[in-house]
């Protein structure tokens, strides 16, 4: 099977990180992937002001912003009236000392969290994933963001609530057929 191709030429990215050199590193990688339009901000407030004028297609934000929590920043994006903006994929880049903030970022409405140091391979794969995999977007009183469930996990006691939940019922259509015919 061929490799995934991404045409990022017309994609506008927003990059928010307090550290100038890290911003430069990530920006260089993104330019290497072909992104030509990059909006770069050092703080959440700066990023908000930039978003006011343009709607980026994807956002890369660090796990611990200097002037506000990353979860608050993502929450602000998710509450915007522009649909393009509120559904925008948000990739959180978390540093080694920010790992405890992963759950907060996820519950703030991030699409995915990528741990620094970021390799070009990881970044490319994550962009490919958020761009191509369609995820339902949930809006509840306490959460606005993409569906956080990645896996369908078996119940710990293997006691299924419905007969149709059991994997053997759905995974083997050839076995299920005779039952359907009998009824």
């Amino acid at each position: 099977m061929g490799q995934p191709r991404l045409n990022l030429k017309n994609v506008t990215g927003l990059l928010v990180d307090r550290d100038a050199f890290t911003r430069g590193l990530v920006a260089q990688m993104l330019r290497g992937f072909g992104i030509e339009k990059l909006m770069i901000a050092g703080t959440g407030a700066e990023a908000k002001a930039m978003i006011g004028g343009n709607c980026p297609d994807i956002c890369f934000v660090e796990g611990a912003l200097e002037d506000m929590s990353t979860a608050d920043f993502i929450g602000w994006i998710r509450r915007q009236t522009s649909q393009a903006l509120r559904f925008m994929p948000v990739i959180v880049l978390t540093g080694y000392t920010q790992l405890r903030l992963i759950a907060a970022a996820r519950d703030g409405g991030a699409h995915i969290v990528v741990r620094k140091p970021i390799s070009p391979q990881t970044l490319f794969d994550r962009i490919n994933w958020v761009a191509r995999v369609s995820r339902p977007f949930l809006e509840t009183p306490s959460y606005i963001g993409p569906d956080r469930r990645f896996h369908s996990i078996d119940p710990p006691d293997e006691k299924w609530k419905r007969a149709t939940d059991a994997p053997s019922q759905t995974a083997a259509p050839s076995q299920a057929e005779p039952t359907a015919q009998a009824s």
């Binding site: 061929g2 490799q3 995934p4 191709r5 991404l6 045409n7 990022l8 030429k9 017309n10 994609v11 550290d19 050199f21 890290t22 430069g24 590193l25 260089q28 993104l30 290497g32 992937f33 072909g34 297609d57 649909q83 393009a84 559904f87 925008m88 994929p89 540093g95 080694y96 000392t97 920010q98 790992l99 405890r100 992963i102 759950a103 996820r106 969290v113 620094k116 140091p117 070009p120 391979q121 970044l123 490319f124 794969d125 962009i127 490919n128 958020v130 761009a131 191509r132 369609s134 339902p136 977007f137 949930l138 809006e139 509840t140 306490s142 959460y143 956080r148 469930r149 990645f150 896996h151």
Partner: protein, 176 residues
Amino acid sequence: MAALTHFPKLRITELVGRFGGVSRDEAIAQAKQELSTMRAEGNDVIEGSIKALEVIVFAPAERSRYSDAQLKQILVLCDQIVTLAGTFEYTALDQTTRSLCDVADGLMRTKKLDIASIHVHMRAMQMVNPKAPPLGEKQIKTMLAELKKILAHHGFDQLSASADKISFEDVPATPD
């Protein structure tokens, strides 16, 4: 308010699928090339951060302890060094700085008084600074083993251990 489920069509999905673009290998090769041009500047930034770290580490707020603000500042600087060391594949510096992060984070959480552990890490970082004369593999191994003993002595959790365990997918979700 009832829960609403949307199935949005993202603009980026349409854009990335357009004719042209780059394959994964091409994109990665180009990105690596872009990064390689930043290595020298990266070394300067690492050196600058280590120097900034020295200023804090060798001037604790009190005789036997660092203030929370100082420990936080140490973590911020270390975070940057870990990011750069990892990006440019300076393994020894990466591991030494992570170990310092573990100790600083542990001291902050437990309120333990200890300056010597931080000093030892600082000295180790100076030795594995990319601009310092390179150490032998055996010396690095010994040094890292000694740093591990400090962490074990304090009984601090390794942020690195949680880094390998925690992923976005498996952090338990809070109910909506």
